[in-house]
Structure formats: C-alpha cells, structure tokens
Symmetry: C2
Subunit: 199 residues, 2 copies
C-alpha cells in the first residue's frame, strides 16, 4: 500500500501481514474489511485478542495454555494422572482431545529438538516433564509428529525415562483412516506392514 493510502490504513495492513500465512494482498483486504465494520466490533476483536495474550499462560503442571493456575485437564479429578501424553504444542492437545479416546493427562514441550535450528533439550520443556516423573506415573506416551524432529525428540526423551522404570510408548504408525494404499508413501506402507495386527 503506497503513499496514496491513508497512513493508519497502511499500518493496519502491515500488522495483518505479520500474521503467519497472510500475505500483503490478504492483509490489505482484511484492513479494508475492518474499516467497514462497526467500531464496537473492531474494539471487541482487538480487546479479545489482547486479553487472550495477557491472561493466557502455561499450566504449571502440563505447560498447556490456560488462564487459570492449573489447566482444566490437570484439574479434572476424572483424568488418569498416571498416564502422560507428551506433545509438541498446545494445538496437538486440541487435536487429541477432539479425537477423544485418551483419558490421561498431557505434557506440552513447546517445541521439538532440532540441531538444524539450534534447538536443544534446554530450549523445550523436558526438565518440567522429568520433574513430573518423580511422582506416581505408569506410562509416558510419546505423541510427537512422525517427522525427523518428532522422532528425534521422542527417542531422546524415552532414553531419559527408561532408566526410571516407567513404560514409554509411541503413537502407532500406519495407514490413515479412509486413505488408499495406492497413494500411501513408501515409509507409511512399510510401517503398516511391520506393525500389522492379527485379526
């Protein structure tokens, strides 16, 4: 947006353009959209976002985002505190909860080990996980993504946990539901055969 545009409009568009996945063209469209909304709506938009940023922090137990001291999962007496599912990010907790089927608690690492990006064990929440394991824990499920970084992180953490005598498991690899053998990649197919189950 060049000098023929009003400066506040250009600034608003530049702010939108900082968001991930939003280019300058979409950012301009969003800025124009905002100008056409009632002031109260724009005030609500900005205040809710600022409130979220200011009130949300990490749960002191599982490190997931929460606006209370303990998150709603850690604070739920019906959840099995002896089974901890380790994930990369809060969005993974959302995905697993949405899917259902898990009644334990989580631990959010807020990142994965990545020598390429210079992210080491002290840059993610591994120490906080190890501290939790001094309590009464039966199983730790490594639920990081099936990528190079996800695998590296899962095996690094599992090597740290095993000496404690706690069971460490990994999410199953295989064909995604509703997928087709024809389009599955080689690694997925190999793993699906290796990990085949008796019917």
């Amino acid at each position: 947006m060049a000098e023929y545009n009003s400066a506040p409009l250009v600034s608003a568009a530049e702010q939108f353009a900082k968001l991930p996945g939003i280019g300058m063209k979409t950012a301009q469209r969003l800025a124009y959209y905002m100008l056409n909304q009632p002031v109260e709506d724009v005030e609500k938009f900005t205040s809710e976002i600022l409130k979220a940023r200011k009130s949300v922090h990490c749960c002191k137990i599982c490190q997931n985002f929460t606006d209370t001291d303990e998150c709603s999962i850690c604070g739920d007496f019906r959840r099995d505190k002896k089974t901890i599912c380790v994930v990369e990010a809060p969005k993974d907790v959302s995905a697993l909860e949405r899917a259902g089927g898990f009644n334990g608690v989580y631990h959010v690492l807020h990142g994965l080990l990545s020598p390429m990006e210079n992210i080491g064990p002290n840059d993610i929440r591994i120490a906080e996980l190890m501290k939790r394991l001094s309590g009464d824990v039966n199983e730790v499920i490594m639920a990081t993504n099936p990528t190079v970084e996800g695998e590296t992180t899962a095996s690094y953490i599992s090597r740290m946990i095993k000496p404690l005598g706690i069971k460490v498991t990994r999410l199953a690899y295989g064909l995604p539901a509703g997928s087709s053998l024809e389009y599955a990649d080689d690694v997925t197919l190999q793993r699906a055969i290796e990990n085949r189950n008796e019917l």
Copy 2:
C-alpha cells in the same frame, strides 16, 4: 475449540474466525500464534487496527478512505480535477494508482447497484458524485468491474450524467496483457474483436 481450551484463547480464535476468508482452523492457528508473540507486539497489532478504524473515514470529496479531511489525491494540486474516475471500492483506487497512467481524481461508490441484493441508487455514493459534477468537470470514466453489477451501475450513472453534457467513458474491454487467445472466454474475445484498433 472446545471446553478443554482456555476461554480467552477460544474467544480470540472466534474473533479471528469472523474475518473474511479465515476459517476456524486458521483462526485457531492465528490465536496460538498470538500467544507466542511478545505482549508489546500484540499490543501494537491491536492498537494499530483500532486506530485505523477510528481515524479513517471517507474523503469529503471523493469518498475514498482517508484520515484527513481531504484525501491525498483530492488534495494534490498536480492532479487533474476535471477528470473523475468512478470505482466501486477503495481497493480499486489502490489498483489504478499502482498501475499508474491516470492523473485525474477518483470517486468511490462504496458498492454497486444490485437488484438481487436489494442495493439501489441511494445505497451507494451516487448523489455525492452528481454534486461534484455541478463544478467544472470534463470527463467521467466509469471504472467499475466488467461484471453484471459493474455494467448495470456504469450504464445507470452514465444515463444520469449525459444530460449534463459531460463526456462519459468506460474502461476498455479486451484481452488481458500476457494472456492467451486459446484460454480467453467468449465474451472477452468478442469484445476484443469488436474494439480492435488500427495499427
């Protein structure tokens, strides 16, 4: 985002989801992104957007967005005030200015006539345009989009202007630069032949 997510986080995502072209999935991603940014950056994001909404209004002459009384184009003594280019929206002014080649001034309608959507002449800024034409104007260029609504609006306004003895023109139809005859639609090709120019 369900009840296992912190309420302020859900609210922030819902606000993002109200933006055009942003679904719930992207909205969640943006909300998470915001939580990972420094508070000052989030404050700047929200304040710039709110500032734009509160300080930007329509230029009293051309109806384009501006934060001053008159927009920078209407206030520029080098622009030819006798040639008015009529467009649907502020983003069209941006497009034409970016392209260059026009040294007149604009008039932003903030919409197009659309019987289907119940948008009549009083719902867009036609009266403001007619008021400008009582001054010294040589030519009005109808630069609405080449769509049904754009055509309807252009011909409606031109019928109102012609009795005033002011020249009314329309943007040229034809093949877009760099395009291929093979993929051009029929209407575009027909118009390109009709409006052929001597070499």
